[in-house]
Symmetry: C2
Subunit: 343 residues, 2 copies
């Protein structure tokens, strides 16, 4: 039942038009609309009412140019390897959701870029000095570690999700993937499963770390234990076929599979079922991420838990401190093995 007074439907285009209408100066309107108390409460409210009435709101582009504060954070999903489906990977999407929340809460806008670097290393440079962004968050590092390092050397407000390597200059928040991989493999090995397989594309640096951790566990387990690598892509397009082929080619002596993600684990579960192999009786399975879907499969997935929500908060708070000129350290969060039914 809101009555709209449309006496003068002439659209107010800018602050000075409104100023003229209100019989004051542009400056006053600016102050009034910003809610400053330097302006008489009465006039302030009058101007605000007028603005509301005409559906006027100050142009953000101009305001942001003038103040030098864009209020925009770039969120980048690099797709170095794995051209396609990365963005639909539920892990990254969940992280994106939490980042969106954290940024919105703090009054920042979020500019999303989904970049496929291909043969050009300039994409990040171009992004950071577009003048549009106050800072950049990277959702994963893909195979772009070197590019990120180079930009981070002179561009401070940048925080990435992913691995932290000794001596790296850019600020990273992530899980200890090595330990995660180790936990997963140890869990399988402890069940007397000595011959393992790893399903994952190690061109992603985080994935590679997971494999390294698994390898370390295997090495500790002594002779007879080993782990074989299958380069399962993260993309969901032909993942099923790839996994089917891998299972077919796989040494029948292998009784434990560690997958680089829950999504891969779920697809593997499906293919094992197709082949009539029981999980965990015939083959045990450990995933990574511990997404909600891990509890929805039959059998439920054992997995390595990553703290996504906390990670997002830590990324944003670090970024804001960096925007304010502080330095911040990287954060490596501890993974946890969640034992369910699949292993």
């Amino acid at each position: 039942m809101a009555t709209e007074s449309r006496d003068k439907p002439r659209r107010i285009r800018n602050i000075s038009e409104l100023a003229k209408l209100a019989g004051v100066s542009a400056g006053t309107v600016s102050r009034a609309l910003a809610g400053k108390d330097l302006v008489n409460r009465e006039t302030r409210e009058r101007i605000q009412a007028l603005a509301r009435e005409h559906g006027f709101r100050p142009n953000q582009m101009a305001s942001r140019l003038r103040t030098g504060q864009t209020g925009v954070i770039g969120v980048v999903i690099p797709l170095g390897h794995d051209k396609r489906q990365h963005i639909s990977d539920p892990f990254f999407m969940t992280l994106l959701g939490y980042l969106a929340d954290a940024l919105t809460e703090r009054g920042y806008d979020l500019m999303l870029s989904r970049v496929i670097p291909e043969h050009n290393d300039e994409w990040l440079e171009r992004l950071v000095d577009s003048g549009m962004l106050e800072g950049v968050l990277m959702i994963g590092q893909s195979d772009q570690f070197a590019v990120i390092e180079q930009v981070a050397a002179h561009y401070r407000p940048l925080v990435a999700w992913g691995v932290h390597q000794p001596g790296q200059v850019h600020c990273a928040v992530g899980t200890d993937n090595f330990t995660g991989g180790k936990l997963a493999a140890q869990h399988l090995l402890a069940q007397g499963r000595k011959r393992l397989a790893f399903f994952g594309d190690i061109r992603g640096i985080e994935i590679e770390e997971r494999l390294k951790g698994a390898r370390a566990a295997v090495a500790e387990a002594g002779t007879g234990a080993n782990i074989e690598l299958f380069a399962t892509p993260l993309a969901t397009d032909n993942m099923a076929e790839r996994i089917a082929a891998d299972l077919e080619a796989m040494d029948p002596a292998i009784t434990g599979i560690f997958t680089a993600s829950d999504v891969i684990a779920m697809a593997t579960l499906r293919q094992l079922h197709e082949r009539g192999q029981q999980v965990p009786r015939d083959i045990a399975l450990v995933g990574f991420d511990d997404l909600p879907l891990a509890t929805q499969t039959v059998p439920q997935l054992s997995s390595i838990h990553q703290q996504i929500g906390r990670g997002a908060e830590e990324m944003v708070s670090r970024l804001l401190r960096r925007i304010a000129g502080e330095e911040t350290d990287s954060l490596v969060m501890e993974p946890r093995l969640i034992v369910r039914e699949s292993a």
Copy 2:
């Protein structure tokens, strides 16, 4: 092995600094950097080289203010009902991915907003005349149909994913949810399953349409047939518990379930397994969306297919036409029943 010449590491802050360095005027630099052919090829290349050398790129904020072209499209995920997990819903995430692709391809940036309208209907108004956006895409309508309608009445460059209702003013691209629901229910009814259940939160207008379609199929099936509604939320937090409770409370005569999404179907599959009920023998299940995950479950999900990729393309092309001042009609795409193992 790229050698970087860092003779003058003094950072160039704007176009006139570069102009001074090049011994030309700001205007010339602007033209040169924009690649216009009004400027001598030699000087143009010299200026471009100089810019590259100093890692200078024109401030987008200023450029966009000046030209009035922001090059930014707002992509909004409204979370009217279902405060939390919507953004992690794989359907919407996939749509977002395709939208990101389509916009990037056309040189647009994407500003993501995840809005929880709560008690305020102004969120869309505020967004559209922030002066930052050339257009707005909405990923789903949630329960904000009225708000969208009102804004669309005076703001042209807006396209939403979702239902199209007779006489609606805003441009929508979506699936014929009614027919989709009808197909799903018909498929179950054709198997002699007369007592059905619908799992979904009909506060989402798209979801409600699906139920209506199912009801229509039930009505056509004649006496004895009926369908019961269970308001399963889309959020994944406590979905499992809700579904477990619903299954417990459900009339044992019900032998077919139509779920509002594949995600709900997957969770339902899990809970049915928990209860020792076989799918499809004891209870048949039809999902909605036909996401990749529908092929990964055991048994594989029968589902209603939505054309996400095409939908994204259609949304973007319509939006661009609207930005150019054209009118565009809505698009209602036909759903398809995909029969797999669960029904």
